[in-house]
């Protein structure tokens, strides 16, 4: 087991994931758990709950045809907050599409979130991307892109940039285990190792990449062991154990900030829902599998932990739920009433300034009779 503050070991071949919280929410004997102040501990709970409630509502909206697309992170919420908690605001995060909690933790509002999903006129990315492709430069949250793995070398480059600039900012990049098969993962890991980039490479190993199970993704004994190929520490952590993730992240961040280079973290968790709202997992996996993982739910485990610390009460939970739900419903209502970005905004932001050929295309578009109203927005 890993003691906090000690150097992170290179994951061995058959390591059980590092864990601090037992199933009942108590701290496993012999582990040196990070201290989370009460207020923060509750904030983390509220955050995970918010992701759960938001996800739930958004999937409903999607099923009702009011959203074009959605992606759940049910069961993986601890990876969001465990990753986000140890960072400073001047650190950077390169999310994949399944870590809304990182946005929320750093201050992204439900309003922004819902507006992005609607691609409406108040969407922070101006309706330019599919739902769940957020971006928040005021939070150092980098724009999400769909192609799997592309963010990894970028995150390493940003960390190299911080180092070149003699700043001690670090970057955190998320990706799934499927992404470890891409060339992008490899070149990023290799650059990180060679340049000792202050970067934390965080793999949410949730067992599935759409219909492809982990054992068809790689023959290596774990994801963490891949760190050896790049001369950096790799660590397997229980991805449903918020405290364990915080512990390994704190270590990794401290070493990165101290100039000791990158860390690969493999958080072992499970994708309980479908890949996305377009997916039907019953076509390829045994429904007993997600059921089993329900028992390891990270939110419930954290709840038990708070209970063991006498922080959790049903009333508090209900209060949180109600607050979140109210905010959420208000945002959904508002988002649905907002219109679409104006057609002419199509041409903004391709370049810093509108070049003549786009000027012309814009003029041409605006001179035409308006086409039927587009989808999205409402």
């Amino acid at each position: 087991m890993l003691a906090k503050g000690q150097p992170v070991p290179i994951a061995g071949t058959d390591d059980e994931p590092f864990s601090i919280l037992a199933d009942d929410g108590t701290i496993r004997p012999g582990t040196d758990a990070p201290e989370i102040p009460d207020e923060q501990a509750l904030k983390l709970y509220r955050g995970m709950l918010q992701v759960r409630l938001v996800d739930d509502r958004m999937m409903k909206l999607q099923r009702q045809g009011r959203l074009g697309f959605y992606m759940l992170s049910m069961g993986e919420e601890a990876t969001h907050f465990g990753g986000a908690y140890p960072l400073r605001m001047s650190d950077w995060c390169f999310p994949s599409y399944r870590e809304p909690g990182v946005f929320f933790w750093r201050g992204y509002s439900i309003k922004d979130y819902v507006n992005q999903l609607h691609g409406n006129i108040e969407d922070p990315v101006k309706g330019r991307q599919m739902p769940v492709h957020h971006s928040a430069n005021w939070l150092n949250m980098v724009s999400i892109s769909s192609p799997v793995g592309t963010q990894i070398p970028q995150a390493v480059g940003l960390a190299m940039g911080a180092k070149i600039s003699k700043k001690d900012d670090v970057s955190l990049v998320y990706f799934g285990e499927g992404a470890t098969s891409t060339g992008q993962f490899h070149v990023a890991m290799n650059f990180a190792g060679v340049f000792k980039a202050p970067c934390i490479l965080f793999c949410r190993n949730n067992g599935w990449a759409i219909s492809t199970p982990g054992n068809k993704q790689t023959a290596s004994k774990s994801i963490a062991i891949k760190a050896l190929a790049y001369g950096m520490p790799g660590i397997r952590v229980d991805g449903n154990d918020l405290l364990a993730i915080i512990a390994v992240m704190q270590d990794a961040v401290a070493r990165a900030r101290a100039g000791e280079g990158p860390t690969l973290i493999e958080a072992v968790t499970y994708r309980r829902g479908g890949h996305s709202s377009s997916d039907d997992p019953s076509a390829y996996r045994d429904p007993s599998e997600p059921k089993e993982w329900e028992a390891k739910d990270p939110l419930e485990r954290w709840r038990r932990h708070l209970e063991s610390r006498k922080l959790w009460t049903q009333e508090l939970h209900d209060k949180y739920s109600q607050e979140i739900t109210e905010e959420l419903m208000a945002c959904v209502k508002a988002a649905g009433e907002l219109g679409n970005p104006a057609p002419e905004t199509l041409f903004d932001d391709v370049f810093a300034e509108l070049p003549p050929h786009l000027e012309e295309q814009k003029a041409e578009m605006m001179s035409r009779p308006r086409p039927k109203p587009a989808h999205g927005g409402h």
């Binding site: 409406n120 891409t182 068809k216 390829y284 391709v350 786009l358 039927k372």
Partner: protein, 324 residues
Amino acid sequence: MPVWNIIQAVNDALRIEMRRDPRVVILGEDVGKFGGVFRATTGLFDEFGGDRVFDTPLAEAGIIGSAIGMALYGLRPVPEIQFADFIYPAYDQIVNELAKFRYRSGGQYPVPVVIRTPYGGGIRGGHYHSQSPEAYFAHTPGLKVVIPSNPYDAKGLLLSSIRGEDPVIFMEPKRVYRAAKGEVPEGDYTVPLGKAKVVREGSQLTVLCYGAMVHTCVEAAQLAEKDGFDPEIIDLRTLLPLDTETVLESVRKTGRVVIAHEAPKTCGYGAELAAMIAEKALMSLEAPISRVAGFDTPFPYTLENEYMPSPDRVALAIKQTAQF
């Protein structure tokens, strides 16, 4: 004859060819048991087993690179790239390797790999599930580029592609995957590569298009018709090699050209069509060549209907060009 959609036609072509030719194998992300995210390979894993229909790790360069290796060994791989937008990690394997293998080896090593990939907008997919990268491939010597617009052609062109000796980029118009229905003969038949098809005869002007845009152009023609216009519509079917003859014959007849595609206008395939016409039939032209294309912006999300050439927009171009 059964009435099928494009997915069914593609699926049938793959099944027919796999039955006929034991060298045909299918690989890609989620194409096995699951049958592909668009379900184009449904049932093939069950019929042909995991040796011939298999899921790969998430790496397009690996999919195409390994398919090249299989082709060198004598197989006939038909890899699927889940969305054309995700083909770029394999770009090096496609443009520097697949396309050049036969040439660079002095003819020693043909690599007949047929890459199937859904392309195009109109499914609310934003700029990573909507791209139309055909011009990149048409500009790459050594590749054939095939884009069917309907189930009949999809099946016949895919069978021709797999039976051919050259690498083919086979792009499937995902917007009309299910919407484009039509009669498809059961059993074996082929549609030759390199032959365009006049889908509507007309006297006044030539509309050149392919893939999903054919449906848009047919709708546009119906709109224009109401106002008394009479466009000829050509479905190119194969972009490379292009059926220059059919195109020029029509242009010489009509003297006016509208080109429609979803991809960004600048350096899109329409540029080649216009340039070819300006080279070979300039003196027949009675009006400027009009290109109706995606704008030179990344593909948007909310405003995709503004971005994509609509029947209205094509109809307007038809009228303006006809009246020039």
